[in-house]
């Protein structure tokens, strides 16, 4: 029995076991300290819908062997450009939402292609270079947000200022178009965001289908054994670029869905660290640097958002101070460090 438990812990990974039991403990404690469990679970589901697609976007790159996408910010930038342009064009409702996505995809295709080409030149060092490519593109876009010629009074600084504001409200444009779509309300505390979840399910389905096409299978082949894939006549570099473009496109859609639910478009330095929580969630769901699946995404986002939702409310009630931010930092970055040190041991 002891051996069995040890084996399970070994397979699942100690950090994941600890985090899982921590979450279970939080859920048990919640009613004790007077927090409504149904409202908490609803919060987790809402946040799941917000963040799921961003985490899903990491999968194609892991599958093609490009590692964890520390350059997720490139996709986010594409999404931001889409969002800002749709507001500038004054398109509202679903039309605005899909305009934003359409423009974002166009930008993401270009950025993804360039990013993929770069990653092909530096095989083996993707992650560290991607981190700084992400950081430098975010800071480059800071300059762009200042000087791009956007005119909409809802977006630029008031009183004759130039440049876009740091946070732009999308209320009146496409705020909650998905969340309110077929929303199921039960009592005062539960509002199930059917539209967001359906949209997530749709994307998951599309990705699932994609990995069953010829190109999709080629991506998996390239990721598991590039030499073998090459000998089968697969153009490894091209397939890797496709996977990077796909990741970037999904990330662009992901950030728009996030903003749709959140209510604000956050520019400037806000996207800087956005890659890390997404990566941590994927890893928490059981993925590793070289392996990830859709199941990992779903489990991971639930666990990670569960921790994020439950820690502030429960811990605050117990010790009367907000440790949640520090706990979040430790959990998400600890998970990434664990995964980075883990893969090497397996390989050697």
């Amino acid at each position: 029995m002891k051996e069995k438990i040890k084996n399970i812990i070994e397979n699942v990974g100690l950090p994941r076991v600890i985090i899982f039991f921590f979450l279970v403990l939080l859920f048990i404690l919640a009613p004790v300290v007077g927090i409504r469990l149904d409202a908490s679970i609803n919060d987790v589901i809402v946040r799941f819908g917000m963040n799921g697609i961003l985490v899903l976007s990491l999968v194609p790159m892991v599958k093609s062997g490009c590692g964890l996408n520390f350059g997720l910010q490139l996709g986010i930038i594409a999404g931001l450009l889409g969002a800002v342009t749709s507001i500038e064009l004054e398109v509202t409702g679903f039309a605005g939402f899909f305009t934003a996505i359409g423009i974002a995809i166009l930008v993401a295709v270009v950025l993804g292609f360039l990013y993929g080409t770069l990653l092909n030149k530096i095989k083996g060092d993707e992650m560290v270079v991607a981190t700084y490519v992400g950081f430098s593109s975010v800071s480059f876009m800071c300059i762009m947000w200042l000087i791009l010629p956007f005119k909409s009074p809802n977006m630029i600084w008031p009183f004759g200022g130039t440049g876009l504001r740091t946070t732009i409200s999308n209320q009146g444009y496409w705020f909650h178009v998905l969340t309110d779509f077929l929303q199921i309300k039960i009592g005062n505390h539960i509002a199930f965001p059917t539209g967001t979840i359906l949209f997530f399910a749709l994307l998951v389905f599309l990705v699932w289908i994609f990995f069953r096409t010829k190109t999709g299978t080629a991506i998996v082949a390239v990721g598991s054994n590039p030499e073998y894939a090459k000998s089968c006549g697969v153009n490894v570099d091209k397939i890797r670029i496709i996977s990077v473009m796909l990741s970037t496109i999904i990330a662009a859609i992901g950030i728009i869905v996030y903003q749709e639910s959140f209510g604000f478009v956050q520019l400037y330095m806000a996207p800087l660290y956005m890659a890390f929580p997404a990566i941590a969630a994927l890893l928490l769901g059981g993925a590793s640097v070289g392996k990830a699946s859709i199941i990992n995404v779903i489990i991971g986002v639930f666990l990670f958002q569960g921790i994020l939702t439950m820690t502030p409310s429960v811990i605050n009630n117990i010790i009367k101070s907000d440790m949640s931010e520090s706990i979040r930092i430790v959990v998400s970055n600890g998970m990434i460090v664990y995964a980075l040190t883990r893969t090497i041991r397996v390989r050697s």
Binding site: K121, T131, F276, E325, N333, I344
Partner: protein, 384 residues
């Protein structure tokens, strides 16, 4: 196929341009930005003097892990945190002046050794991914630092001076004034030339560290670290404990970074308890790379050239930005972009060349094999 021409280029002029592309681009940028900013030469010299004394030490801490082949040590942030904890304690105990600085160093040394050892162990488990792991490790330890300083201090760890505690009576305030130890090292040997204060003692400390690094390279340990850096397998055959040597190099780097952060903060005079260390790694590494260093090779001159170029850019870019499009904010963003961009560019360039070299080697080996096969074939044919 254009990419291969770069590493194949034997023309020394072209090689120089490629190897030093970052410092060259920087020099050109600065040459344009200085007149735009309209800052006086005297001001620039005075500021650069301060910044050389303030920043060089922590950048020198990066050199030894590069020697050990571990790349840029993003986890120097751990050392910086150790130094800050030392400073928190001397502020709490109200030990002022030079004794305060020395005591802070003394307290934080064991902590830095411990953190360095831990960091080295983690990085050993992530061979080939040291940089990204070190980077994430710095983030992780930042969370733990917050838990200790924001929740543990004044609670579990006794803090007697309530003026550095938050109003809720535990946890350290966001900013700590280091007025009592401010610039004690810089002003230890008072020397003014033309109204400019020369921080003689700080420069002496930095010079001592340079001499130490030069001497250290020649010791047995230094040689071992260098052979580990060149080739892990060869080093192992030579009987060097590779893992231990790598841990040691990270530990030394962490301890040096800890002293570096103390020197940095005594010059600034205030400490942002939760932010001062955050960007230490990024700025130190960017400066070193701007000085012409690469992931596999960094020298003492790289450090000083780097500080001068990088910080001149820091000084002039806000005003140049204002002169260009009327917004100082643009310059602020520009320098952040430059810091990150330089790192991205250098790392990508290095990784790319490494890959091309590997490819060339493989091709050479294949060609050699083919020649050998042919010669054995013809030799076999002659027998009959």
């Amino acid at each position: 196929m254009k990419k291969q021409s770069i590493t194949k280029a034997t023309n020394p002029g072209v090689r120089f341009l490629i190897n030093y592309s970052v410092p060259i681009i920087f020099t050109i940028l600065i040459a344009f930005a200085i007149p735009l900013s309209g800052l006086s030469g005297e001001y620039l010299v005075r500021e650069l003097m301060t910044r050389l004394a303030r920043n060089s030490f922590i950048i020198l801490a990066l050199l030894i892990p590069v020697m050990a082949g571990m790349g840029m040590n993003f986890s120097i942030v751990l050392g910086a945190m150790a130094g800050e904890i030392g400073l928190i304690f001397i502020t709490d105990w109200q030990i002022v002046g030079m004794p305060g600085i020395l005591l802070a160093m003394l307290i934080s040394t064991p902590l830095a050794i411990l953190l360095g050892y831990f960091g080295g162990m983690v990085l050993n488990r992530a061979k080939g991914k040291e940089m990204v792991t070190g980077f994430m490790l710095a983030f992780l330890m930042n969370g733990i630092y917050q838990l200790v300083v924001l929740y543990g201090m004044g609670n579990i760890i006794p803090i007697s001076n309530s003026s550095i505690l938050l109003p809720r009576e535990y946890g350290i305030r966001n900013a700590i004034s280091l007025l009592e130890v401010r610039q004690v090292l810089d002003r230890l040997v008072p020397l003014k030339i033309g109204g400019i204060l020369i921080p003689v003692a700080s420069f002496l400390v930095i010079a001592t560290l340079c001499v130490f690094i030069i001497w250290f390279k020649k010791t047995k340990l230094g040689q071992e670290i260098r052979s580990v850096g060149q080739d892990n397998d060869v080093a192992r055959v030579l009987g060097i404990n590779v893992g231990k040597t790598r841990i040691l190099s990270i530990t030394i780097s962490t301890v040096l970074a800890c002293y570096g952060q103390i020197i940095f903060l005594q010059n600034i005079g205030t400490m942002n308890t939760y932010n001062s260390h955050e960007q230490v790694g990024v700025f130190a590494i960017a400066a070193l790379l701007v000085g012409g260093a690469s992931v596999s090779k960094a020298t003492i001159p790289n450090v000083f050239i780097g500080v001068i170029l990088f910080h001149t850019m820091f000084l002039v870019s806000p005003r140049a930005g204002k002169a260009l499009i009327g917004q100082a904010q643009l310059g602020e963003y520009f320098r952040v972009f430059v810091s990150y961009g330089v790192i991205a560019f250098s790392l990508a360039l290095y990784a790319w060349r490494k890959r091309v070299e590997k490819e060339n080697e493989r091709r050479k080996a294949m060609a050699l094999k083919r020649v050998l096969l042919q010669s054995t074939n013809t030799a076999g044919g002659n027998k009959f």
